[in-house]
């Protein structure tokens, strides 16, 4: 796993000696299972961001059977109420508490300071502390592979993207996807509709319909519901699903899906909490770490395209291929990363421009 972002370190240091090694060892009694809490932004449901985290939790629970006892609190909004939920879990003896949405960040920082004997792990945030670690997935790696599939399968050369909010994670996804597509089909173009919501099946569906009307014959999304996959199935266009394998919702039209796989990470991290070796870390894991992968490819994808995708997958895993290896040129023709260089993690995590091939303007201040 990769240690993350130099910038964050300085911020973490400002928050209180973040990078100091944390020496206290808190060994649990062998007989007593360790209590681990999970705080989810939405209900678990049967696909999407929270569903993937819960799959990971279950896998961890199975792997560490008998040694761990987990507790879920779902549908916790990213407001002041979250602080009470984290506090309650800590007070109730949960040695390690995972928070899986960005908006918990400042509340987790506060609770972590108040409960120095509990440990906390925050997904997608950037603030750390002596008992607060952060972890995230390199979602863009899966996006790049989906992009190759889309680039090979599109006839209209128009790919539609239903996006949530213009934060770097989503912009990265858009850019990585179109770079993947154009690596095999230089005529491919991306159209983006901002739904301005993480979860609103009605809006996501309407956006999907608009993109199809604009000529898109492959859709993808960075929103949380299965609406785009379902719309693609109905409208007979391809879809690359996100977060979860949505083959159930688009049985004939899903090309593949970019998935987050948290089980391995949760097993390892909770294992460390059990044996007392847990330390706050900044983890940004990708295909190589088993944290990101793609769902099985649709049978309609030709064999040579499949081979292309699987080769790219191997190369990303081995580090030979980076979705943002230079030259990276933005949509105005300005070089953002020179040829022969690779984008830094810091630049990636602040990405606020579209690369070439994306139509329209990125919403800006």
């Amino acid at each position: 796993m990769t240690s993350r972002r130099a910038v964050i370190r300085t911020m973490g240091a400002a928050l209180g000696a973040a990078t100091l090694p944390f020496a206290t060892v808190r060994r649990a009694l062998a007989a007593e299972p360790v209590k681990v809490g999970f705080v989810y932004i939405s209900p678990i449901s049967d696909a999407g961001w929270t569903y993937q985290h819960d799959l990971g939790r279950k896998e961890m629970e199975k792997a560490l059977a008998g040694k761990v006892q987990t507790k879920i609190v779902e549908n916790v909004p990213e407001g002041p109420d979250a602080e009470r939920v984290f506090r309650e879990l800590a007070k109730d003896g949960h040695k390690l508490v995972f928070g899986t949405s960005f908006g918990y960040m400042n509340y987790m920082v506060k609770v972590a300071q108040q409960f120095p004997n509990n440990d906390f792990e925050h997904c997608t945030g950037y603030k750390t502390g002596k008992n607060l670690g952060i972890y995230n997935g390199r979602f863009y790696e899966g996006r790049y592979l989906c992009g190759i599939a889309a680039g090979r399968m599109t006839k209209s050369n128009v790919i539609g993207f239903v996006a949530a909010f213009p934060i770097p994670e989503v912009v990265m996804a858009i850019n990585s996807f179109i770079r993947g597509a154009r690596s095999v089909n230089p005529k491919a173009e991306m159209r983006v509709i901002w739904a301005n919501t993480w979860y609103d099946p009605g809006k996501e569906r309407a956006a999907a319909g608009t993109l199809v009307a604009q000529g898109a014959d492959v859709l993808t999304h960075h929103t949380d519901s299965t609406a785009v996959a379902q719309a693609a199935e109905e409208k007979k266009v391809w879809v690359c699903a996100y977060h979860s394998n949505m083959a159930k919702y688009a049985p004939t039209r899903q090309l593949t899906a970019s998935e987050e796989i948290w089980g391995g990470y949760y097993t390892k991290t909770v294992g460390r909490a059990i044996d007392g070796s847990w330390k706050p870390d900044h983890v940004w894991g990708g295909i190589r770490d088993g944290m990101i992968d793609i769902a099985p490819l649709n049978d309609a994808v030709p064999a040579d395209a499949k081979a292309q995708i699987m080769k790219a997958r191997e190369e990303i895993a081995s580090g030979k291929l980076h979705p943002f290896a230079g030259p990276v040129v933005d949509q105005d023709g300005k070089a953002r990363v020179a040829a022969g260089q690779t984008i830094t993690d810091d630049a990636l995590s602040k990405m606020d421009y579209y690369v070439e091939g994306v139509a329209g303007k990125l919403p800006k201040a």
Binding site: V73, P77, G79, P80, D81, R84, F165, D352, A365
Partner: protein, 355 residues
């Protein structure tokens, strides 16, 4: 045999105040059935739901923290509701108060002056009042429905919040996430009990309740508004101004909702994010009605409502019940209250032969 409702000649004053208690008892009974159906020990269920959240000082402070915005907003709404001015958009006014207060906090981010907080408070009140003034203006000028206009402005306010946190007020060190910087200490409300999150906003809410009580029951303007609400023709005949009632009703609600918004960003949030909207503006409508539009009633109703929120969280954590459980209790409470009110105003009669 068909039954019908017959209006009572006069509703019993005692039962008017008794019906919230009846509703609470029925909610408890409903909860009992619910816990049994879910296979949980009802006594344990009630303990987790209604007692555990407030079993220590910290819990009580959290209850008061959660009840504070509800008290503020419901008091302002009651002023209007008593005069049949239906401000449904307190959520939007709450957000605009939060935005205005944040504007002041960011403008004076480097200041350590004692005046930053009062300025934020005033800005919050003005922000909320200005947002409520739009439906007031349209109602008095064009006779538009204040229900629709105030409600739709909630969505506009949410977009305003999104715009400022994604745009001009975004924390430059925040990796483009939609949030402002954390406020400076001079822009954070002082904490009442050390080690808790309860701020002086609670005292402001109590002051608002007292002021609201005197305005609604003891002042001439309050009396005029009540008359206007109950009998507009009579009010006009007496020379009471209809438009003035609309203006006072909406602006009072907006100003207090704005103060509530300020108390959130300057209190437990400490910044403005795109998740500032937490539904207090809508929940306060229930609070105002459960509290019979009276100050004392609102005080207790907001505590009860806050307890239902916290009980829902506890039930999820300790009883493994779904998160909707808190909302089920809130829904039961409102349903039984409205149902009980029907019987306060009507009686059930057997119909004689069909006409």
């Amino acid at each position: 045999m068909p039954l019908r409702f017959e209006a009572r000649a006069e509703a019993s004053a005692r039962m008017r105040y008794g019906s919230p208690l009846v509703a609470v008892l029925l909610t408890v009974a409903g909860g009992l059935v619910l816990f049994i159906l879910l296979g949980r020990n009802p006594l344990h269920g009630f303990r987790v739901f209604f007692y555990d959240p407030v079993k220590d000082l910290y819990g009580v402070s959290e209850l008061l923290l959660k009840a504070t915005p509800l008290m503020l907003i419901a008091t302002g709404l009651a002023v209007g509701f008593r005069a049949n001015v239906w401000n449904i958009g307190a959520e939007g006014q709450f957000l605009m108060g939060a935005v205005a207060a944040t504007g002041v906090a960011l403008m004076f981010h480097d200041s350590t002056s004692m005046l930053v907080l009062p300025a934020m408070l005033v800005a919050g009140a003005i922000g909320g009042a200005a947002w409520a003034a739009i439906p007031a203006f349209l109602k008095t000028r064009c006779n538009t429905s204040e229900i629709l206009v105030s409600l739709m402005l909630v969505y506009v306010a949410q977009f305003v919040v999104s715009w400022v946190v994604f745009g001009p007020w975004k924390d430059p060190q925040g990796f483009n996430f939609p949030q402002t910087v954390m406020f400076a200490d001079s822009a954070l409300l002082p904490v009442l009990i050390p080690g808790t999150r309860l701020t002086v906003a609670f005292l402001i809410a109590i002051a608002a309740l007292v002021a609201g009580h005197f305005f609604m029951t003891r002042s001439y303007a309050g009396f005029q508004m009540q008359v206007t609400g109950q009998a507009e023709a009579a009010a006009n005949y007496a020379g009471f101004s209809g438009p003035r009632t609309v203006w006072i009703g909406l602006v009072a609600g907006g100003a207090l909702a704005g103060v509530a918004g300020m108390s959130e960003v300057a209190g437990p949030m400490g910044q403005l994010t795109d998740h500032a909207s937490s539904g207090y503006g809508f929940a306060a409508i229930i609070v105002a009605f459960v509290g019979r539009l009276s100050a004392l009633g609102i005080f207790f109703a907001s505590l009860l409502m806050a307890l239902l929120y916290m009980g829902g969280e506890q039930a999820q954590q300790h009883l493994n019940l779904p998160p909707a459980i808190g909302q089920v209790f809130q829904g039961m409470l409102l349903f039984f209250l409205l149902g009980a009110d029907v019987f306060v105003n009507y009686r059930l009669r057997r119909s004689r032969a069909a006409p």
